[in-house]
Symmetry: C2
Subunit: 160 residues, 2 copies
């Protein structure tokens, strides 16, 4: 429990923030949705100190948001992927992102989450603006948006 | 900007977290949705140190999430209410709450957000599970849930 001061709050928001409210945690989850899996990728993209990153990855793994998987035997190497519990954070990630798009972006959204196949963009409710369906993480793909430093288009996985 | 380390991230999630990612900020916003307006109410409910609360209320006011209004002349007294920008955090608040309900609550949801008139409960997309409509903050009311310390039912405003 990272936020011990929250512990006496009988509130699901407080309990969620104990896990994803610590600095960097939600940006690690964001990167995991983008397809980032490896320690050095998270470190390079986030510009976070290695000891902080190690602590956050451990917290998220202990909380069942990420799963640590060995992908190489010699030397032993691990990657981090979202569990179903982690993927359930998709509506929260999209809602926070869309709020930032609307209220904190000057050049338009840096990223646009689109409904695979349909191509519509997701709103703050993860609802496709083309077909009206609510979209989950597995049916969404990330694109560079007008506020990106890249040309608009599908974002490669794993990204830059 | 609270999270100066996030500043070089060209990302709407990072920009949103600069405002609402600091410890206590999102619980202050939660309480504002519940109808809390006054400093001493926030202080008592959150159990947060007064100097921390002062700093967070100032940050949220500077960011345009809360508006500071004088409600008494002598002595001068102020209250804090959500702006339209603050109310736009409703989908994010609901998404985080529902994730905590599903993954971190042992006795069921402490709170249930219901569609006024219809009575359906909101899911992680702020969608009413009765009529299927997406519900905004002004059309929602907060109820004590099965995991509350209170009897289930409409939560009074402003709450204890």
């Amino acid at each position: 429990m990272l936020h011990r001061d929250y512990a006496d709050q009988n509130c699901s928001i407080a309990r969620a923030l104990e896990i994803v409210g610590e600095r960097w945690s939600l940006l690690i989850v964001r990167d995991a949705f983008l397809g980032v899996t490896r320690f050095d990728q998270f470190e390079r993209r986030l510009g976070v100190a290695p000891n902080t990153l190690t602590a956050r990855l451990r917290s998220l793994t202990d909380a069942g948001v990420l799963e640590r998987r060995r992908y190489n035997e010699r030397p032993q190497r691990y990657e981090y992927v979202l569990t179903p519990r982690g993927k359930d954070l998709f509506p929260a990630i999209v809602a926070i992102m869309r709020w930032g798009d609307v209220h904190q972006s000057t050049n338009g959204p840096p990223a646009v989450v689109r409904h695979i196949g349909c191509g519509g963009a997701l709103d703050a409710h993860a609802r496709c603006d083309e077909c009206g369906l609510i979209v989950n993480a597995d049916d969404a793909e990330w694109h560079y948006g007008p506020g990106s430093r890249h040309e608009p288009g599908l974002r490669p996985r794993p990204p830059m």
